[in-house]
């Protein structure tokens, strides 16, 4: 069972896949209908709580990526240092944490 943050990541990955699929097809891969992906996307979106989904969609409108990497405890979207109190929680993937600087959802790489 995926946690909320993992569901959000899966959603962003799917959105990227939907964007890429035509070009991937041009390269020579056999790729079926986009509809399948869009259906998978709605199914995934249904698993998320309304506020999380709403937050994701809003961020997506504002930025290229709603979920942004954190490296060396710095948000790579706005380069703000993440407060120590949030780091352990963030790294455990237990909670969805938004950057206090730019609002984007944070994903720890290390």
């Amino acid at each position: 069972m995926l946690k909320h943050l993992e569901l959000l990541v899966a959603l962003q990955d799917l959105d990227v896949m939907i964007t890429d699929i035509d070009e991937v097809k041009q390269i020579g891969f056999k790729v079926g209908g986009k509809e399948k992906l869009k259906e998978a996307r709605s199914q995934l979106a249904e698993k998320l709580s309304k506020p999380l989904l709403y937050n994701y969609e809003n961020l997506r409108k504002r930025y290229k990526r709603a979920i942004i990497p954190v490296k060396d405890d710095i948000c790579l979207g706005c380069f703000m240092r993440i407060p120590t109190s949030l780091i352990t929680r963030g790294r455990s993937d237990q909670d969805v944490i938004n950057c206090e600087g730019c609002g984007r959802v944070l994903y720890w790489y290390d």
């Binding site: 990955d13 799917l14 990227v16 390269i27 079926g32 990526r65």
Partner: protein, 172 residues
């Protein structure tokens, strides 16, 4: 089913990125190389190669990446025929563009478009927006290089990472 080889236009926003075969060398690394895969199924091979990305700290967690790769496979197998598979995708979980390579002596069923078993698996992972837009040109170049029967035959024989690198250094 017709196999379409080769890379056509593959960049966004009209930017033409010229990718040479040797440019692929930037994305391989020894810790992303297996000369004898244990996997004998498609799922197991995705798992085995994704594990290399975790081990070399390119991704922190496998489950997210496997989820994405499996979704991709449902759209159509990345087994492109002639014993080659190139599972690929962009994922939020990846920091850099990297390519893992695994070779399977016995071959595995990959639902390939020509139904032939797969011996050569290249896994390409990239972040959602790689700054230099390298991901699609890399995929195109790989497809092009692997369309050559000589290259495929050489790759089927590699035992070490150095030998593997030589194939990409020496292609025309």
């Amino acid at each position: 089913m017709q196999i379409v080889w080769g890379n056509k236009k593959h960049t966004k926003e009209g930017k033409d990125i010229k990718m040479e075969t040797k440019d692929l060398l930037d994305y391989f690394s020894e810790d992303l190389f297996i000369s004898q895969m244990k996997a004998s199924t498609k799922d197991a091979s995705l798992d085995e190669l994704a594990s290399l990305f975790v081990k070399s700290k390119i991704i922190r967690k496998k489950s997210i990446v496997l989820e994405m790769l499996q979704k991709r496979e449902t759209l159509g197998s990345t087994g492109i025929g002639k014993g080659v598979a190139i599972p690929h995708g962009r994922t939020t979980a990846a920091m850099d563009v990297k390519i893992a390579f695994g070779k399977s002596e016995q071959g595995m069923d990959f639902d390939s478009i020509d139904n032939k078993p797969v011996n050569l698996v290249f896994m390409v992972l990239a972040p959602p927006h790689d700054e230099n837009n390298r991901y699609l040109p890399i995929l195109g170049k790989l497809v092009e290089v692997l369309s050559g029967v000589k290259n495929r035959n050489k790759l089927k024989k590699v035992e070490t990472f150095d030998e593997f690198i030589q194939v990409f250094n020496g292609v025309d």
